[in-house]
């Protein structure tokens, strides 16, 4: 009962905020609405008995990604403050495709025979942590490498060309 109620509230929040993300004319507003969506997702995780995940979600997404996005928005301001408008001609095919995709996905879900019914409990954090260091240790390591690569790559890509020795003017 509680679960139902929580679910409905969170679901509504998710949908509404997502819609605002994609439809806001003001980019900063879009980013803020994304923050709401991400937070709602974290609550959804809680409803789905994944507390650790919820915490990670708050830390990384709502904290980190949103901040990054705000920085990005501010650093790429257009000289003239004309806001970006989605033209009508782009909205219609986009909406149609999205709705079509939704219908197909729902149909696929309905067509599946053996959706799990549940009753089992989600794992606790300790099991999760253990599995990271035993069963999925390789993937874990690779992931860390990937994060390193991403960091280095981002720095290389975005650095100012006249740093240091002054080679490679932009």
């Amino acid at each position: 009962m509680m679960e139902h109620l929580a679910f409905v509230v969170v679901a509504v929040a998710l949908i509404v905020s997502a819609l605002r993300v994609v439809t806001s004319k003001n980019l900063v507003h879009s980013v803020l609405w994304l923050g709401v969506t991400l937070a709602s997702t974290a609550v959804m995780y809680l409803v789905l008995e994944a507390p650790f995940l919820a915490g990670v979600q708050i830390l990384l997404y709502t904290g980190g990604v949103v901040t990054l996005m705000i920085f990005g928005v501010m650093l790429t301001r257009r000289v003239d403050p004309r806001t970006v408008v989605n033209e009508q001609s782009r909205r219609l095919p986009g909406a149609a495709t999205a709705i079509l995709t939704f219908l197909v996905l729902v149909a696929a879900a309905l067509a599946t025979d053996d959706l799990p019914a549940g009753g089992l409990h989600a794992p606790d954090t300790e099991t999760l942590g253990r599995s990271f260091l035993t069963e999925h240790v390789m993937a874990f390591e690779v992931l860390s490498l990937l994060l390193l690569a991403a960091m280095v790559g981002a720095i290389v890509l975005a650095r100012r060309r006249d740093y240091g020795t002054g080679k490679e003017k932009a």
Binding site: M44, A98, F132
Partner: protein
């Protein structure tokens, strides 16, 4: 509670994100929409994890979160570069790699 409602929510989120990807002219707007899609997928994973049992779903979701964050970082770096070159970041105008 059963699984399908969660799936439907995830689907809806996914499709809203898809709409954004297809429609937004600003590159950052596009990245925001991509985030939505990624989150939808994560919800899907966690929902299955809740109903199927086992920890594979949540592990996957965690990995997905890490990957998505990395992707956002690189993406923003590219946007910076684009801005530096063209002074604006409209994706439909950045079509130099055409036929």
């Amino acid at each position: 509670m059963s699984l399908p409602p969660y799936l439907v929510v995830a689907f809806a989120l996914f499709c809203i994100g898809l709409y954004g990807v297809l429609t937004r002219r600003n590159a950052i707007g596009l990245l925001l929409s991509v985030e939505l899609m990624a989150n939808a997928v994560n919800i899907n994973f966690v929902a299955f994890a809740r109903f199927h049992g086992g920890h594979a779903g949540q592990v996957f979701a965690l990995f997905a979160i890490a990957l998505t964050v990395a992707e956002v970082v690189v993406g923003l770096a590219l946007v910076m570069l684009l801005y530096r070159t063209r002074k604006d970041i409209l994706v439909d105008e950045a079509s130099d790699l055409k036929h």
